[in-house]
Amino acid sequence: MRWFRFVVLVVVIAIIQSAFLEKIAFTDQHVKPDLLLTLVVFFSICGVSEAKKARLGGWEFNISEAVITSFAIGFVADVLARSLGPRIISYGLFGTLLAHLHRVVSAKRITYQALIIFITSIFAGALVALLTLVQQKTPATFKLLLWTSIYSAIAGPFFFLPAAWWMRIKTRRFTKF
């Protein structure tokens, strides 16, 4: 993992998320895609290290980097939402889970990537809402969560290619698994 590039990418995405996405937001609830969550999904399904042959057969992935990136992106998302905790836990948990799942499932097609983003966004959003309630704050409505997930699923896969180019990740190598 190229960590300097990762930090630059996360900072740029954080700025875009908080300042530039208003242009493509719609409805009075300002629905916009969650680029940071898309980034979590990207690093969890494309950012895992190359597989090695496991001793007991099959393949073994090193998912440590996916764990670190998921929690780090969650922390940045929490800073933007100025409510520390919910996204670190949620993004970290689902990012790690996705990286584990990547051992058995690979998302080569754009439709699969969109589906993964949608499902992750729904579940991660629900957990964020739950943890926000623990903090005795008002969580986002389910309607907003649903529209944000749909929007992220539509826009997210198109974001994978430039992210992979910037991170110098060869996405094609995953097609062989």
Binding site: A19, L21, K23, S83, L84, G92, T96
Partner: protein
């Protein structure tokens, strides 16, 4: 001695980070605010630029928008002056022998640029405690109130718009004016609950923020009644929806109302 790199297992990493997440979950809100202010301070230029770029879609309609905005400004100004006049008359009647202080005489309006919007009902502005800005102070634009200061840093402050679901502002509504708490809905409007139907309230009525010691010494317009119908669950009460008295979606500059400022104003 081969390489001494410490290798931490994935499970250990996950456990550590999760514990850190839970510790942060119960960290004081001040820490979140400080981190957010630090982020907006470091990246102030790209955030302000981004906001200016994204708001161009609101200003594309040109002259019509400007005309509507001017009309709204004049309407708000007239409404505020009328209310101030009423208040002055009452003061003269009640305290005819005492010298009354004019409303907003000792107040200063601190201009501030909007750095970024956290959500559709919260803004970060580049004016903080450096200019005597404090929590609870009212924020205006186009001569009407749009929200209050929610958190303050030395250089920046966060504005909670009155449309935010967590916002509660005391307002006057109807004739004769009654005092009620107005709560935001999060959808560019606010609700005023618990208004009995015996009070005459109709669509288009003006809603004023109430006087608040140390923050506001005269009522100022905050919104207009956009919907007023009997409550479905409690038929003896009104269901009142209030919309802002100006456009609050495309704000680039606002003014913080500082009563009796200790420091000189910015301009």
């Amino acid at each position: 001695m081969a390489s001494n790199r410490i290798r931490v297992s994935e499970r250990m990493l996950f456990t550590w980070f999760t514990i850190a997440g839970f510790i942060l979950l119960f960290a004081p809100q001040g820490l979140s605010d400080r981190l957010h202010f630090t982020f907006t301070k470091i990246f102030q230029w790209p955030l302000t630029f981004g906001r200016a770029v994204t708001l161009t879609k609101h200003s594309n309609s040109g002259n019509t928008n400007e005309l509507t905005r001017r009309e709204l400004q004049y309407r708000n100004l007239i409404a505020n002056l009328q209310r101030q006049l009423e208040q002055a008359k009452m003061q003269i009647e009640q305290l005819s022998l005492l010298r009354a202080r004019l409303p907003l005489q000792g107040a200063a309006l601190m201009p501030a640029n909007v750095v970024t919007a956290i959500s559709n009902s919260e803004l970060v502005i580049n004016c903080g405690s450096e200019f005597a800005v404090q929590k609870g102070q009212f924020v205006l634009t186009d001569i009407c109130i749009i929200g209050t200061i929610d958190a303050v840093d030395y250089y920046q402050a966060r504005v909670k718009l009155f449309t935010d679901p967590a916002s509660m502002i005391e307002v006057n509504i109807g004739k004769p004016a009654i005092a009620r708490l107005m709560q935001g809905t999060g959808r560019n409007s606010a609700k005023i609950p618990n208004v009995p139907r015996k009070h005459k309230v109709k669509k288009g009525d003006l809603v004023y923020a109430r006087k608040k010691a140390g923050c506001l010494d005269t009522p100022i317009i905050i919104g207009t009644v956009s919907q007023c119908r009997p409550d479905d669950e409690k038929p003896l009460l009104w269901n009142i929806t209030v919309e802002p008295a100006c456009s609050i979606e495309a704000l680039l500059q606002v003014y913080v109302l500082v009563m009796n400022p200790q420091k000189p104003a910015r301009f």
